[in-house]
Each structure stands twice: as C-alpha cells, then as structure tokens.
Symmetry: D2
Subunit: 266 residues, 4 copies
C-alpha cells in the first residue's frame, strides 16, 4: 500500500502546480491513496467549494486542512457535506462544523486519515495528544492503516507527536511551516515520520507570500496585507510512503520535491 501526500497548496500558483504535476506523480508512483493539504489554496487563506473540487479533480482522495480552515466564509456552505475534507480534529467539537478524520476504503483495506493541529505558537484549541488517543480508541480496530497530518509550528511538538503515536499509526507527517524538512525516517516502532512536508506554491517568495510585503513587515512592524502572487514559478513538495503489511508500520518514506532547480523526472 502506497500513499502520496502533498503539502499546503498555496494560491493560484499552488493550484496550477498541483494540477500539472499530481497526475504525473500518480503515474510515476502509482499510489493507492492521495492526500493533499488544501488550507491555503484560496489566495493563501482557506478554501472554497470550487477549489475543494479542483483538488479532488487533480487527483486527491482526501483533503486535509489547518489553522486557515475557516478563513473563507464559503467553507460554512459545504464543510458538513464535504465527505473527503477534514479539518483539525482538535477544534472544540461542540462548536466546530466538519470532521477531523475520515475512513477511506482502498480495495479491501480501510485507511484512516486524521488531521490535528499543534498548539505551540498557534491558537489554544483542544489538546492534540489527548485527541489522538480518543480518535485512535474509536478507529484503531476498523483501520488497516492510519495517516496523520499534524499541522504545527514547532519541531518539538511535531517530533513529540511522532514518538507519541509511534506504533499506533502508520505515518505522521507535519504541515504548516511551508518548508520541507530533511528528516524523513521510520521511528523505532515502525511509524513513518516527517517533521514538515513543505508547501506547493510560489518558488520565489516567502512561504508563498510576496516577499516584498513580508520583508516590509519585518522592517517597519506596521499592518501590511500579505498576498500570494497570481503568477510566477511554482514548486511542489510532498512525500511518498510505503505502508508495511504489519499493522501501523511503514517500510519507506521518501521526499518529493519539484522546483525550477530540480525539475520533475518521469
């Protein structure tokens, strides 16, 4: 069982890069399941119904989100019906539309996909460590494999989550910092781990936002509207994971990176 995971799709450039390369990547790697983080596709902040469909059409089976989930009001129109979209499961259950995990059938097997959000230097939502215990208690028995997109800022919280669920999920991959890390590995009890998968969007900007604006903000500390450009060179960051036949173990995790400096090889 092989899955592909593509990091935060950022604005129009991210959308175009995804649309161009995801089919090629699927042809090359032949994954059984494709997961894409879509929290930044709507001009850098949030998602719309139309863009959700764009991601699915490009080849995603499941769309994960993050701290930008609710940035565009359009989300409220479709989140409860979007059965392939999940948002961080540790938003307060009682007050949050949508769901935090989904079980997907792939042939005879069931893959659980979970989305959680960290709290260090991010908003204080519910405890992701307690929440993952709760979700695993619910779905562990029904799932052959479990993939977790942990959307968090710090390397410490991400590594802590990795070791915390090691042997209890098949893979933990981080998102949110928009920069791919070079630490893909199989943890001692078999879980595939990567601190951050990186983003899919502008190659020549800062986190996908116009660099002039971001630098300006660091220089003058005044309010500035960050924006993602409409056109320019793109990059795609992702990873491919081979799940083992042993429950909650992976055989291999490899980085995917397509940039102007490192073009796609068939």
């Amino acid at each position: 069982m092989r899955i592909i995971f593509i990091g935060d799709v950022m604005g129009p450039i991210g959308q175009e890069t995804l649309t161009t390369y995801l089919p090629k990547l699927k042809a090359k790697y032949r994954p059984q399941l494709t997961i894409v983080n879509g929290e930044n596709i709507a001009m850098g902040k949030g998602i719309t119904k139309s863009l959700y469909k764009t991601i699915l059409t490009a080849g995603a089976d499941v769309v994960t989100m993050g701290n930008h989930t609710f940035d565009k009001d359009d989300i409220y129109e479709f989140i409860d019906d979007a059965n392939k979209l999940i948002r961080p499961a540790n938003f307060p259950a009682q007050h949050t539309p949508g769901k935090g995990y989904v079980l997907t059938k792939v042939n005879q097997t069931t893959v659980g996909v979970i989305n959680l959000q960290g709290r260090v230097f991010l908003d204080s939502i519910d405890d992701p460590f307690a929440k993952v215990d709760e979700i695993l208690a619910e779905i562990q028995a029904q799932c052959d494999y479990i993939f977790l997109d942990f959307h968090a800022e710090t390397t410490s919280e991400k590594e802590a989550m990795g070791y915390y669920v090691d042997g209890r999920v098949t893979a933990v991959v981080g998102t949110h910092t928009h920069v791919q890390t070079n630490d893909a590995k199989i943890l001692p009890k078999g879980t595939a781990y990567l601190t951050d998968v990186g983003m899919t969007g502008p190659y020549d900007e800062i986190l996908g936002m116009r660099k002039e604006r971001v630098i300006e903000r660091f220089l003058n500390h005044r309010p500035v509207r960050f924006e993602t450009p409409l056109s320019g060179r793109g990059q795609l960051n992702g990873c491919v994971i081979d799940f083992s036949s042993t429950k909650n173990a992976a055989r291999k995790i490899e980085l995917i990176q397509i940039t102007p400096d490192q073009p796609f090889l068939e």
Copy 2:
C-alpha cells in the same frame, strides 16, 4: 573557496559525533573554513571554555552561538577573550559581552562570519534586519566573502532574512530548530540559502532532549527538567557551500547528514 557549517552541537552525544566525523568530513570535502554552532554543547544549554576548545580541536575555525549563549555562567569567564567565538550580534551592544561577528583570514582572502538571532517566538532583542545593515556597512569593504548564521525559529523570518541580504552576503544558513530543512538553494542575486541546517546530537530523542520528558511536558503541562542523554546513537547535520569568485555569490550549497540510517560515506 569552500566552507563547511555544522549545526547546533547538542550535549555529550553531539560532542562525540562532532569529534568523530568532523575530521572525516574535512578530509572528504577539504573546506578552507569550518564553522560550528556550539550553543547546546554544554548538556544542551550553553557552552564552557573547555567545550569551546573541544570544538576548535575537532576542527572548527569559528564557533557561532544562539539563544543559549549565556546559559552557563562559565561563558563570562572567557567570552571576551575567545576570538573565534561569536554570539548573536543583535543582543543589546551596551549590555552584552562578546562580539557578534569576526573577520577571518583564509590565505589571501577575508571571510566575515556573522551571527544574528531572530525575534519571532524568541526574546525581543535588537532588530536583526537593522543590525545586519549596520554590520555590512562596517565590514563589506574588507570582506571577500560573508557567512551568516541566522539563529531563528520561524521559516518566515529566516526566508525574509535570506532575501533581505541576497547579493550582500555569500551565504545565509539558519539554525535553532534542530531539524534540517530540505530547501538549500541559490537565491536570485547569488546568495546561498538554507532555512535550517539541523543539529548534531542524539538521533533517537526530541531536538536532542530525552523524548520521555518532552512528551510528558506536552501531556501534563507541569514543570519538568529537560535533559540531553549522556549516551546513545548520534547524528550530524551540516552543509557544504562553494563560494563563487564573484563577490557575495555562491556556486553550490549541499546538505550533509550522517545518521544511523544514513552512514558516513568516505
């Protein structure tokens, strides 16, 4: 002109890994200049005179630091005389011993090495962007090459610094998160850039601190003493950069990573 930069050396395991592999790396890559970040060598927090000498003996020409610079009181005994050690230049000048940059002679050329610290999610010291302008105004004319260790938490502040000094320094490499990023590149105006070089220390822990303690802290939110283990498997993270003969431009930047899963190749 080639330099090697090795990320945050963490405790006894980091020290041993550095001592073992730095000579081999120098034999393999034959750099003219070797820089090591030493902010975590003293049991994870700070540095001592004896460990500073250990790093130099292992092969470093310059030792850079970070937010842990002053964690061990021993630093006050030797920092003003340690002419190969620099701490973040944007600590308030009037109140801080030591220096934030150093010029090093390598044959006929002069290489400036600068250490700066970010402020996002770190202490509010002086502005690193204003400070780098100030330092460059002072040393630009005297230097053939300039290397900057930017010790910072977020990808945004690091990328902003990279683009801000692009074409004004030869390389900007980030430290502090202890996880190597996979985004080494040459920026448009020629500066080599890497968001984080990663750390040198324990392979099986969280940021080099005992994982049980870090996880415990995330679960119970009570005071716990983080500690780096005395023994265990190590890793080394670094990069090698080839400077161009053009001023403030690099030809190549490559990642170095030695781990139990990815052993050193001669």
Copy 3:
C-alpha cells in the same frame, strides 16, 4: 453571606503581611468564608505543605493556586490529601493530581469554590470555558453560591469569562498579574466581577520580585534568576464580596488594599 478573597501571597513578605492583616481584616469585615491564592508563597514559586498550613492558620478556609502550582516538588507529597487546596481545574484531568474545585459548608449553605487558568499568553492547558460549563453542570444544583478564581494574564480573557458565567456563578475574581484592577462591578445578570485582585507581598519590587533583577533582564535579555526578597515593606490586596440571597448574584464587591501609603484602618 460575605466572603473575603486575598490575592497571590508572595514569598516571606507576603506570608508575614497575610499573617499580620488577615486576622484584622476578618475582625473588621466578619466574612463567613475566606479564600487565599497561595501559588507564590514558597519564595515566589509554588507552595509547600508547611506553608499551606500557614495560610490556613492565618485564617483561610480555601487556598487557590495558579500556573505556579507544581513549581515546588513538595506539592506532590500533600496535594491529594489537601482538602482545602484547589489548583486550576483545567489542567488535564487524566495527568494531574489534586482537584480543581471544592464544596464548602458554611452553616446551612454550600459554597462552591472553583479555580481555573487562562490560556492567552499562558500554557495551553484544557479549555477553561468548556471546563467551567462541565463543573457547573456537576455542582450547580448542590451549591448556594459559587466563587471562581480565574488565574489569567489578559484583561480580555478575564472579562470574557466574567460575562460567560454571569448569572451562573456568584463571583469571578481574577488573579495572576499581581496588580489590582479598579473595575470591581456587578455584571448585568448579578455576578460580582473583578479583573485582578492583586497580590500580597513586597511593596517596593516588581510583581514581588527584586526589581533590579527584573530590570536587568529587560536590559540585557540574558538568563537571570528572579527572586523575592526576604524582608522589606509589604502590601496586601484583596476584595470583599457580599452575596445576595438570590442565587448566583452578589450585592456588592469592594476592593481591599493595605500598603505603606494606605495603612489598615480598623
């Protein structure tokens, strides 16, 4: 029904000031219930069994805590048996010794006392708003009156809690900033409210810590050990609240402040 609440007792000076003035205050105001926040009594950080008894001996019926609850290891020796001590109820239940609320009999009436901690600029523990709902569902029916010590940093989170429980508890009083606010009032549905009651300890220092050390830290941003002085002029900050016979309503809330500039009047 009248209660007195005394803010964070800070170190030896706080202890002495409490011991001196609490009996006099009780003689003057004749409260039926006395509550004291004790999170800083052990040299500024935490509490010990012996100091817990000191607070009770000085006249407290219930001791509340805050973010410093577990700073002194001694707490683990007695917290589970200390039936008059409560710590923030929103520490993760599964991982935290002690309890977050207590019901106290005062003649024929039952007063619930709850301790909660805010999350803005403090550690990300469990949601205090969800937790207060949960606790009120448990104890509302059994209580004639309910007092909440909300230990939090920002005025916004404290006011939000005040209005959130207005008409569901008798009084909400904030602690943690160590400076008394001048906004005591009865909220629209009857709950007495005060953003911060202030602290009980040194008068001539910063938050009760030696001012030279705190200023030094702001100037040089290096590690410095904060300490509370052993002797010096003290102050006491508190409030007195008259509960109404109407459930979850107060008639009056007044500030108490004893300082060298504003001595105790019989």
Copy 4:
C-alpha cells in the same frame, strides 16, 4: 502644574464620552495640560485626521497612540503634520513616519510628552528601555516636566519601566490593557506611576469590543471580526497628576473613573 491623562478612547461611544466629560473634568480639575490616548478612536482600530481634530476640540493638548497607530491608512495623510500627535517612539526610526515625543510650552514651563510601546506579548519593535534613555538624553535639559505614556501589555514590563525612569521623568502611566489598575503611587525617587489608566468607551462590552464576538472567539477559535458598538453606555478612565516644583517629581496621582455605576460628580 497639573495634568489630566485620559486612556484609550474607543470608537463612537468613547468619542461621545470624551466629548461629554472632558470639558467637565477640565472645569473641575483645571489642569494646565491634557493628554488623551487616541489609538482606538476609529472604530476600535487607529485614528483618522477628523477624529484627531475631534480629540483636540474636546480639550486635548497632546494625543498619544499605541500598537493600533497605523491601522487606518488615513494616518499616513496627516501624521507628519500633526504636531500634537505622537506614536510610540520605539517604532524603527528609519522606517516610521511621525514622531515619538513632543515638547509643549505651558506658560513658562516646558513639558515633554513621550509615547513608548512595550514588547512583551506585543510586536518586537525597538527596545523601549534603550529608547527612553536616548530620548531623555536629548530632552532632559529642555524640559521642566516629562510625562510618559507606556503602552504595554504586562504588569512586569510596565513596573520595570516605572522604576527604570523613576527620578528621570515626572510621571509614567500605562495604557493598552483597557482596564484601570488600582496602584497609582509615587515611586521612591518621585515619579508618579500607574500601571494602566484604563480606557474610555463602552461600559458593557469586553475591552470595548462587542462581548458576544469576543466570547465566541474564545469558544470556537475561528476568525471573527471584533467590533465596537455604535451606541450604548459609556465609561471614562483617566488620572490627574500634580507635578512637584522639584524636577522629575510628582506630588500626587489620582484615578478618574466615570461609569454608569459611578457617575461624574462636579
């Protein structure tokens, strides 16, 4: 020499309350100088040229600002000509329009008014402690009295500033938390001090923003637009300070508070 200082005027309710009561307060207290913090007058965020004039017409001699200074673009149209408006002096000088202090003639005397912003839990601008030293070196000789509005979040940074400039300015009064503190005092070397003067605006909301919205944000952690109401009951918070004839010393500092529960007394 007597001055009146009025805290952050918040939206239309703040504007109306100021317009109604400032003339009455001036008639009652007969101050020689009136200073008003105007950072929130434009619907809670920033100021416009027209509202700046409204504050002056209401009776202010100097308008101070804070972290919301640049929230409304209109500020760029008039800040450089607004000789009675100051913004935090520690915004980076090179990149910031406007000025951070002003000297005002009152009869034969010169009063310096300084505006600074803290950095704890606020944006990392320049060091307010270094900046106040720099400004005092410039203006000390020319001023008979100096008033400092220190716009900051925490009690620790505010008290630290108070003691740091004690004996070097005549008064330090904090703003930003929107809740008046009850710790007005004369520091050992003569400077009048108050941690926060409080705000002028809605009485029945949270910090002057609609309470339902603020509570909603604490419950669901989703993006919500905070807004200040157009009408409702108002409050005014301020203080009156009597400067001593001794340089950099005050004789008295008293709180001013006008609320529906505590009406204005002639």
